[in-house]
Structures are given as structure tokens and as C-alpha cells.
């Protein structure tokens, strides 16, 4: 009987000793004190920072996005936050010029448990165009025949008003490599980006109002607007795309008559608008710069994104267009890349974009 009791006692003590102790530090008690200052200079070269009142603050962490607003003093205090690495973006329209956005961000702010983290964000001026490149599907579907012709680019109108795409251009910027600073760099510091290799344009001229782009909607620009599932079953049906890149100088480019065309304005390029599967620069321009050969003037750039597969490869797109890069998924994976939130553009693609497992043409 004593032996049996000893066995039970041994088991009990063994069990108790295996039980883990609770952590001593609780989660959910971190605090962020944030001050947002925006450069409002319009003519002077000396920055003039003012507190960003009622500015939209986007906090991104492993817990997703959190959207808050600064107070009248440009300050935001957040309490009771879980510990995480936060990337914080602040944006608001310029108080004097609605065509300018004040945008600032800081990355990977380590917010520790039970700690107060204080920081100041200095926002810079970027063009407030209302349109953003929202998704780029470049890598091709799952297949072993090197099929990638189902590429598309998706635009999003994040403004509250109708925009018009008449005369706008979509460019692939992959040149300026030989001796240059790379695709999308401002070679010679003359206020433009260089290396345009493909340039397709919407019909009409900038300023015309024939092709509306309704607020909070998407436009899918397909390389070839057909149902690609008929070729590769894992591909996507783009027969209902809004626009199709059509190279009128190509003898073989298929044209879906039911889908409106963007046409090629570089007659020396005789293939369809195809982009690199894992690394490229895409720029959307207003089309008011008629001389693309010497580079696209920066003020005419509506949005631009550089994507690449390796974090160590060179970032070449001018920082005034975008400071970061989108991480591209592997080629022939069927995966895509898009903004975390529709149209949320802080001019830092590293924060704004994420790879996603499947393409989402026309929706988010």
C-alpha cells in the first residue's frame, strides 16, 4: 500500500513540476505618443513644418491595420496597445493646395510591453492624384510551360470624385542600366525619371472627360483580355477586364473587341505590354509630358511602383515617386502583389504593398 501511495505521490509531484509558470509581463499596456509635422512650403526652399491637424494615421503591424486621427495639435496618443513592431504613416491634404498631399512615415517602430514610445513624423509633399496602382500581377500562374501572358495591372480611384483617364500613360521602366543609375532614377538630376522601355496610353488627351474612373472603383488593365484558363487552368479569366494593352505595331497581338484598348506609342516596340515576372518598375503618368524620350517629368507622374524579389537588389526608382519597393512573389506561383488597403499610398511601397496568394482583378 505504501508503495502504491508513493507511486501516486511521485506522479503528482512530477506533474506539478512540469507545469509552466505564467509570464510576468502582460501584453496590451504599451503606449505610443506621436507628433506629426508636415512641410507646407509652397515656394520657399526652406521647409516650414506645421502640426498636422486631424491627419489620418495608419498603423501597420502583425495585427493588421489600425486607422486613427491626430488631434488639433497634430498629436496622437494611443494607449493599451499590444507589443509589436509598428510601421506608422500619416497623411493629410495640404492645407493650401488640394493637389498636394502631406505624407510621412516611419518603419518598424519597436513598441515594447509596458513602455511608452514617443516619436515625431515629418511629412513631405507628394502629388495628390486620387489614382493609385493597386495591384500588379506579373509572375504568371502555376504552370510548367512558362506561361505568363495573363499579366495585369489594377488601378484604384481612392478619391471621392470621378477621375478621367483620357490620355494617361502606363509605362514599363526597365532601361537606363548601362552606365546609368538604373530604371526609374533621375539621371542627371533634371527632374524626370529615365529608362522608359514600354509606353502605352489611354485614348484621348489629358484633360478630356470621355473615360470616367468612378470613385472607389478598380480598373483592370490586362496584357491580353481573354480567359486564360482556356490555356492554363490555374490562370485567370481576364475577358472582363476594363482595358487591354494592345500593340497596334504587332502582327500577333490579340485584340479583344469587347475591351477598350491602351495603345502603344513607341513604334520601335512591336510586342505586347509585358512586364518582368519578378522585378520591374511600373509608372502611371498623366500624359501631359509629350517628350518621354528624355524621361518622364516627375510632376506628371501619378503613381509609380518598383517591385523586386530580392531585398538586396538595387532600389532604383526615384524616391520622390516612391521610397520603397514591393516584395514580388515567386514567378509561376499564381501569386500577386497589391496594396494592403485599396489605394492607401504613402509613397513607400515597402509599407504599402504585400504579396498575396492569388490575384484579385477588380476587387480587393
Amino acid at each position: 500500500m505504501k508503495k502504491i501511495s508513493s507511486v501516486f505521490l511521485f506522479l503528482l509531484l512530477g506533474l506539478i513540476s512540469c507545469q509552466e509558470e505564467p509570464p510576468v509581463v502582460p501584453d496590451g499596456n504599451s503606449k505610443i505618443n506621436l507628433m506629426a509635422l508636415g512641410d507646407t512650403t509652397l515656394v520657399d526652399s526652406i521647409p516650414h513644418f506645421i502640426p498636422m491637424q486631424n491627419a489620418k494615421v495608419i498603423l501597420s503591424s502583425e495585427y493588421g491595420l489600425m486607422i486613427k486621427y491626430t488631434d488639433q495639435n497634430g498629436s496622437l496618443i494611443l494607449e493599451g496597445l499590444p507589443a509589436a513592431a509598428y510601421s506608422i504613416s500619416v497623411r493629410m491634404p495640404h492645407p493650401l493646395n488640394e493637389n498636394i498631399l502631406l505624407v510621412g512615415n516611419i518603419r518598424d517602430v519597436q513598441v515594447s510591453p509596458a513602455q511608452v514610445t514617443a516619436d515625431t513624423i515629418f511629412a513631405e509633399q507628394v502629388a495628390n492624384t486620387g489614382i493609385a496602382i493597386n495591384e500588379i500581377y506579373a509572375g504568371g500562374p502555376l504552370n510548367n510551360i512558362f506561361f505568363f501572358y495573363d499579366q495585369f495591372i489594377e488601378l484604384y480611384n481612392y478619391s471621392d470624385e470621378i477621375k478621367y483617364v483620357d490620355g494617361m500613360i502606363v509605362t514599363r521602366v526597365s532601361g537606363n542600366n548601362d552606365g546609368g543609375q538604373g530604371p526609374g532614377a533621375d539621371e542627371g538630376n533634371d527632374g524626370d525619371i529615365d529608362g522608359v522601355t514600354y509606353i502605352f496610353k489611354f485614348p484621348g488627351k489629358p484633360g478630356e472627360t470621355n473615360y470616367p474612373f468612378y470613385p472607389h472603383t478598380f480598373l483592370v488593365l490586362a496584357s491580353t483580355a481573354v480567359n486564360h484558363k482556356n490555356v492554363v487552368s490555374t490562370s485567370y479569366d481576364l475577358s472582363n477586364a476594363d482595358w487591354e494593352f494592345y500593340n497596334q505595331f504587332s502582327a500577333s497581338d490579340f485584340d479583344n473587341p469587347n475591351v477598350k484598348n491602351l495603345i502603344n506609342i513607341r513604334s520601335d516596340r512591336t510586342v505586347d505590354f509585358l512586364i518582368n515576372l519578378v522585378s520591374d518598375v511600373i509608372v502611371l503618368g498623366s500624359g501631359v509630358d509629350p517628350l518621354w524620350e528624355d524621361g518622364l517629368d516627375l510632376p506628371t507622374v501619378i503613381d509609380g511602383v518598383q517591385y523586386k524579389s530580392s531585398v538586396t537588389s538595387r532600389k532604383t526608382l526615384d524616391a520622390r515617386v516612391d521610397k520603397g519597393f514591393a516584395q514580388s512573389p515567386p514567378k509561376y506561383s499564381g501569386k500577386s502583389m497589391r496594396r494592403r488597403e485599396p489605394g492607401v499610398d504613402t509613397n513607400d511601397a515597402t509599407l504599402d504593398w504585400e504579396p498575396i496568394p492569388f490575384a484579385t482583378p477588380g476587387f480587393h
Partner: protein, 485 residues
């Protein structure tokens, strides 16, 4: 007349199988348990303490219970991740076979089918088991679970007056959500139980047993159209980590060990008393795949509980039995985010309850019984990550009434009513909650070797501050007992 009688029996089986649960005489008497004699509710280590070692002494007859059951629950009084209602069907078989001096064998098997209607977003089988982790998608939809359960128990006399017993349990459930994300669940539960009981003398029995469970729930959410599915791993109730992919999986692994002790004392022929106590340690791990083969621990929850119960019954005379009951229980739990080793939730519940009850044979045919229990609960809960804390006290009352009427031919009609009044409902969060429960049953000997026991149960629970919110339950239970097979 005979035809009408069999039609009545058939009708009773049919309405009984219109709704889940345990089949017993006490269930049909409103749940009376303190001051009533019943062969399935003894104070012995097997009945009162679940010690398998005393099976050998408790069960001396061969029988097989076949118990179909059906139940339905519905109503708006539920939590965020509950279903709008549950439909349950099941049948169990329980057989007892005494093998003389070789021991006694108990075999149990069941197959259950459960439909959770509009199960809101959650993909876990049990969303509210006290952990700070929820695994949800974006839709509410019907979830179906079905599967078997098997339990084998054996008890024998190891040495003179020393009894040993053990059991193994295996349960498997397949779950399927019928809408996006079409989550599939495989729920597996393996358990074991080993105990000893020693008869110190004819009046005193002491016992101890050890129980363990190992449960694993594997959940895979994948859209049949090969599009992405979006799921959310909640840490606490506020913050979540989204996860997206063509297939999202999660594993929840739980382990539990319980040490139990029993003391049974036959003070005199008319008076008996028993104490039983349990100390339990359990943990739950949320595992998420990283790469093809590796799983990382996303969260960990620890559970520690202790309870002690005392029960005594005194047979005042042939017709009058009185009893009393007292219990104390304490449950502690905490959850952590494993990667950062941060405390998410910490809660503790202490429970004290006392009760008295009696049953009285008014005539040779009619027996009535009553129980009353008074309970005190103290809840201390801090959900750190959610920035919420609760310190609650609750005084709870339970009344039970039951009556049994013996008709001709050993046919028994039974009825019962119970009322629970909780100042604070720790499960659903309501205040001044009342639960009315009505039962109606029959015990019907078909012939010498077949006995039919059946009851139906209707209950309705609602918080006092809002009569429009309630949850109802209707269940029917049948047990056909074969005394030889």
C-alpha cells in the same frame, strides 16, 4: 388494449427521439441528487468519484443499455462565437459484464451527430474553453460534427480488499463547415484512467485514481474553388493576426492530468457519507505550421483546478431519506503569447456550494423529492491584452422538485422541475439569469429482461433584465436496458 399500449410505447420512443443526454431515472426527476436513493447515484468511489477500481464492487449484474438521444437548442441568448442553435443525434451502447473473480468489464460506444446552425465565424470545436485564442473566418454557417466514441473499462480485485481498475477512451469527430471557408476539423481525444480502491474494513473505502486526456483538434480551411481563404488568429478578443492562403491550418493540442481521491464511510446502516477530491493540471497549445514540416507554438494556456465534494445521506426511515452536500472548487487559468512570452489573460473562479435534499414516499406508489442548493461564486478575470478586468461575485440558488408514481405492472411515471437562479452567468455573461427546466419520464418494463427508461426535457434560460433574450433546449432520451445479452 394491448395494441394501444404498444402504440403508446412506440409514440413515446418517437417523441423521445425528437430531442441529447444522459439517460437516468434522476434526470427525469428534475435532476434530484442529494436526498434520494438511486443505484446509479451511490456514494461509492465509482459513482461519486469516477474511480474505475470500484466498478468491480458496484456492478454485479450483466446488462446492456442502448440509448438513443436527440436534442435541439435555439434562441438568442448566446455568445459571439456560438451557434444560433444545436441539433444533436446520437446513440450509445453501454454494457456491463461481471466475470466473477476475474473482474468486471464495462464497454461503452457511441456515435454522435451534431449540427451547429449558423455557427458564427469560429472554426474551433470549443471556442470558450478559457483560452485567449480564437480562430475565426468571415462567415457564419452550419457546422456538422460526427464521429464515434469508445470507452473500455476493467476492474478486478488485485489483492484482498484492494481493487484495481482502468479504462481507455478514444473519441474521433469529423467536422465540416458547409460554407466558405469550408473548414474541416479532425478532433481526436485519447484518454486513460487508472485507479485503486481499498476496503479498510466493511464500512470504509478509500480510493485514488489518475486520469489523463490528450486532445488534438486539426483545422484546415480551404476554399473548394482554389481561391484564397482569409482567417484570423485572435489573441484575446480585440487583436488578431490575419492569415490568408489557399489553405490555412491550425492545430490545438490539449493535455490534462487529474489526480483524484475518494473516501466512503458507512457510518451506520442508515447513514453514509463520502468525500471526493480532484486536482487537475491541463494545458492547451495553439500550433501553426511554419514551412512544410515545422509547427510553431502561437499560444499557450494553462489550467489548474481543485475541487472537493462532500455528500451524505441518511435514511430516517423506510420512506424518508435526507441528504446534504457541500463543495468547493477553484479554477485558475492564464494564457500567453508564446513567441513574446507575454501574459494575455489571467482568470480565477472560486465556487462554494452547499445543499440539502430529501425524498419521501407518500404512499407505496408515490415518491416525492426536493433539493435546494446555495452557491457563491467569485470571479477575478483580467484580460490584459483587451484592457478589460472583471471582479464579480454571484449568489446562486438551485431548486429541484421531482415525483415518481408507480403504476400497475412496475410502470413508473416521473416528472420534475428545476430552477437555477444565477446572479451572474459566467458562461454567457447574463445577469440575474433564470433557468427553468421541466422533465417528464417513464420507466416501463417490457418483459422480465427488457426495461425501457425514457424522459424528455425542456428548459429555457434567460437573463432577468431582458425577457426577449432566451435560449431553449428540448431533448429526448431513451434507454432500453437488456438484462441479458
Amino acid at each position: 388494449m394491448k395494441k394501444q399500449f404498444y402504440l403508446f410505447v412506440l409514440f413515446w420512443i418517437l417523441i423521445s427521439t425528437l430531442s441529447p443526454a444522459q439517460q437516468s431515472r434522476l434526470s427525469s426527476l428534475g435532476g434530484l441528487s442529494i436526498g434520494i436513493e438511486d443505484k446509479d447515484n451511490l456514494l461509492t468511489p465509482f459513482d461519486f468519484g469516477n474511480n474505475p477500481a470500484w466498478l468491480f464492487m458496484d456492478e454485479k449484474e450483466t446488462y446492456l443499455n442502448i440509448s438513443p438521444a436527440i436534442s435541439n437548442s435555439w434562441g438568442s441568448y448566446h455568445r459571439k462565437y456560438d451557434s444560433e442553435g444545436d441539433m444533436y443525434y446520437g446513440t450509445s451502447f453501454k454494457g456491463i459484464k461481471p466475470l466473477g473473480q476475474l473482474g468486471t468489464f464495462l464497454g461503452y460506444t457511441s456515435y454522435d451527430y451534431e449540427i451547429r446552425r449558423n455557427y458564427n465565424r469560429t472554426l474551433k470545436y470549443d471556442s470558450y474553453s478559457g483560452e485567449a485564442f480564437f480562430f475565426v473566418d468571415t462567415t457564419a454557417g452550419n457546422f456538422h460534427y460526427n464521429g464515434p466514441k469508445v470507452n473500455l473499462m476493467y476492474s478486478w480485485e488485485l489483492l484482498d480488499n484492494l481493487y484495481a481498475g482502468g479504462s481507455v477512451t478514444y473519441q474521433l469527430l469529423d467536422g465540416l463547415k458547409k460554407v466558405y471557408t469550408y473548414a474541416k476539423t479532425i478532433y481526436r481525444n485519447v484518454g486513460g484512467n487508472f485507479g485503486l480502491a481499498y476496503e479498510l474494513d466493511k464500512d470504509i473505502v478509500i480510493g485514488a485514481h489518475y486520469t489523463f486526456f490528450d486532445t488534438q483538434e486539426s483545422i484546415e480551411a480551404a476554399d473548394v474553388n482554389l481561391l484564397e481563404v482569409e482567417t484570423f488568429n485572435y489573441r484575446g478578443e480585440t487583436y488578431f493576426v490575419p492569415d490568408r492562403g489557399s489553405s490555412v491550418t491550425q492545430k490545438i493540442r490539449k493535455k490534462s492530468s487529474t489526480f483524484s481521491g475518494q473516501l466512503f464511510y458507512q457510518v451506520m446502516d442508515e447513514l453514509q457519507a463520502a468525500i471526493q477530491t480532484n486536482y487537475s493540471l491541463a494545458n492547451s497549445k495553439v500550433l501553426i505550421p511554419e514551412g512544410s514540416f515545422k509547427e510553431v507554438e502561437e499560444g499557450y494556456a494553462s489550467f489548474e483546478s481543485f475541487d472537493v465534494q462532500f455528500k451524505s445521506q441518511y435514511k430516517i426511515d423506510e420512506n424518508f431519506t435526507a441528504g446534504c452536500y457541500a463543495a468547493y472548487a477553484s479554477r485558475d487559468s492564464w494564457s500567453r503569447h508564446s513567441h513574446k512570452n507575454l501574459l494575455l489573460w489571467d482568470w480565477n473562479i472560486n465556487n462554494v456550494s452547499v445543499g440539502v435534499g430529501s425524498s419521501y414516499k407518500v404512499t407505496q406508489e408515490l415518491m416525492v423529492g426536493i433539493d435546494y442548493m446555495l452557491g457563491w461564486k467569485k470571479i477575478d478575470s483580467t484580460k490584459y491584452i483587451d484592457n478589460r478586468a472583471a471582479y464579480l461575485n454571484s449568489n446562486d440558488h438551485t431548486f429541484r422538485l421531482g415525483a415518481e408514481y408507480k403504476m400497475l405492472g412496475n410502470v413508473f411515471l416521473r416528472g420534475g422541475y428545476s430552477l437555477n437562479m444565477d446572479e451572474y452567468d459566467i458562461y454567457y455573461g447574463g445577469e440575474n439569469v433564470k433557468n427553468h427546466s421541466f422533465t417528464l419520464g417513464i420507466g416501463l418494463p417490457i418483459n422480465e429482461s427488457i426495461l425501457l427508461d425514457s424522459h424528455i426535457n425542456y428548459s429555457k434560460i434567460s437573463p432577468g433584465n431582458n425577457s426577449a433574450i432566451a435560449r431553449s433546449f428540448l431533448g429526448a432520451f431513451v434507454t432500453v436496458r437488456l438484462n441479458s445479452f
